[in-house]
């Protein structure tokens, strides 16, 4: 187990190094002079440009720049935002709580609503199943920004139930402020999870061991819990893993649509003005979250399916 974990963490580190190199490298490819942006739209005397270039190490060879940057990243120094003239780490840290709250809240909604609907559809073939299928079909097809518009017009403008902007502070206030964004964010994913749950459960329902359990006089609810739902957890967990990762990127859209100041909006804002240090840092963070989520899923799988713990070569 420890060896497996070590190998996976090493894999993640390798991925992150490759990722950071890819991101840094692609940004380096970008046409245009970063210095011209740093001068913020005012007359750029050659002296000023030279000063900026020196300040941001733009004249060093690419590899030197990369090593300097990567060295900083390791110590938590992601460089300085050109746009905000602040340390990128500070910029992100200030916005991280909002994003985490949003992701957490949405994640919870997705889990509860998605699982409940999926299970319901699997258990009640016929009208209920059909309704859930149609509902989740539309939900998965509704982009979060479209949902955002609908939710804002209805709940905050027409009905006035929720505030139209702001992150909120304190628990209750945050919940109130983040309800609509979390709903918009979770719509697609909850629909997806419901569908996957339904499909996984139906697949399990068709398995022989379920029929065997029935043939042994086990009550239906128990069969559902211990054989169907339990065995469907594998694919469900996989989907939850990708959903968690997908959420982090989707926040950029939702935060922009709701005017929340979080990491996603920071990313979008930074891309619009080519504030590369921020783009690099946020991208790296998202990738880190993505691979971590996948690692957790991979660690969960052997717990769900004992067959996998052996296959992975872990000592039992």
């Amino acid at each position: 187990m420890a060896r497996f974990l070590l190998r996976r963490v090493a894999g993640i580190v390798a991925t992150l190094i490759a990722t950071s190199f890819a991101i840094f490298g692609s940004v380096h490819l970008a046409p245009g002079d970063p210095a011209s942006f740093l001068l913020g739209g005012r007359s750029a005397s050659p002296a000023a440009v030279a000063a900026i270039r020196a300040q941001y190490h733009l004249d060093d060879p690419f590899l030197v720049q990369y090593v300097k940057w990567a060295g900083g990243v390791v110590t938590g120094d992601f460089g300085r935002s050109a746009q905000f003239r602040q340390d990128v780490a500070g910029l992100i840290m200030a916005r991280l709580p909002t994003t985490l709250w949003l992701v957490g809240y949405a994640g919870l909604l997705i889990l509860i609503v998605g699982l409940a609907l999926g299970v319901l559809a699997a258990l009640r073939p016929g009208v209920v199943d059909r309704l859930v299928l149609i509902g989740t079909g539309v939900a998965t097809a509704t982009p979060s920004f479209v949902a955002a518009m609908g939710l804002i017009s209805l709940f905050s403008l027409q009905l006035g139930w929720f505030p139209a902007f702001g992150n909120g502070s304190g628990f209750g206030d945050r919940i109130v402020h983040l309800t609509l964004p979390a709903a918009a964010l979770s719509l697609t994913f909850a629909g997806l999870l419901a569908r996957v749950t339904r499909a996984a459960m139906l697949e399990e329902l068709g398995r022989e061991h379920v029929e065997v359990a029935r043939s042994r006089g086990i009550p239906g609810s128990r069969v559902m819990r211990q054989h169907v739902l339990r065995n469907a957890l594998g694919p469900i967990t996989t989907v939850i893993g990708t959903v968690v990762a997908g959420l982090l990127v989707a926040t950029s859209i939702v935060e922009t649509a709701f005017g929340l100041s979080g990491v996603g909006q920071l990313l979008v804002g930074s891309v619009t003005v080519k504030d590369f240090p921020v783009v690099q840092a946020v991208s790296l963070l998202v990738v880190l979250a993505f691979v971590t989520a996948n690692l957790i899923v991979d660690l969960l799988h052997p717990l769900i399916d004992p067959r996998l713990s052996h296959a992975k070569g872990g000592a039992s």
Binding site: R207, E208, H209, E211, V212, A213, R214, S215, R216, G217, I218, P219, R222, Q226, H227, R230, N231, I304, D305, P306, R307, H310
Partner: protein, 322 residues
Amino acid sequence: MTTPLLEIENLNVQLAAGKAARPILDGVSLHVAQGETVGLVGESGSGKSVTCRSVLGLFPEGAQTCGSLRLDGNDVLTMSPTRLRELRRHDVSMVFQDPRASINPLRRIGDFVTEGIRAGGVPRKDALKRAGELLESVGIRDPRAALRRYPHEFSGGMLQRVMIAGALAGEPRLLLADEPTTALDVTTQAEVISILTDLRTERAMGMLFVTHDLELAAAICDRVYVMYAGRIVETQSADGLFGRPRHPYTAALLASTPQLDSDRPPRSVPGRPVSLAETSPGCAFAVRCAHARPRCTEHEPVQREIDGAHVACLRAEELIND
């Protein structure tokens, strides 16, 4: 013969209307007495499994049934769901063909063996203790450790023993064995069969043993039913069946099975086995039958008793001398 343990009379199973509507069983009648081992043989699609499962009240989705299916005199077809569950837990158990598919791979062996009795309210500790004894009785070494292991840690033969232990947990009086050894090696098959036969004598259980291996049926059964296309075509004692098959189908089946002890090469039967839905009026076997006469395709043969054998062949009497 006293009242049989299991008595199926004139069971018809039909898939409901719609595209897939078709008959599966037609007038199946069979009975199993206490302590008796009854074989059910036939080629694939003949309806052996459907017959077997129907004893537990398990039918394909949307199936319509008629006839009667009594266990100890109680009709399974009209039982309440609660009573049916009781029956499955305590009275009848089934051993399936593929143990690896039949046992939930994600749960421990102990869970599998005990789940039936625990659903009946037996506390966990007692159930586990009982499960340990059961595993021991089917020849699993270190049963206490085995309870904590997972199905994938067992070979197929061992897993089939686990399945048998699970089937025995509710102390059933009737054991349904649907090709329990088809997936196993010949040597492993012998071990599993020996366990089954031992247990049957120990517990005086009735057993309905489904197989397509005539030799195997001959070796362990008291009586054998032969099925073809959803109907029972012949019933006899095992010895009788193999010595003097009365139905041309039984005879053909026997002839086509390679024999280890005889030099007579397997004789092939033309055509292929059909399912009930594919049959035309009259005898379903007529198209493949060397002895068929035109009337065979006109009248459906009724079962008659001939020398203690029940045969559904119009020419059964004529053919005795062949």
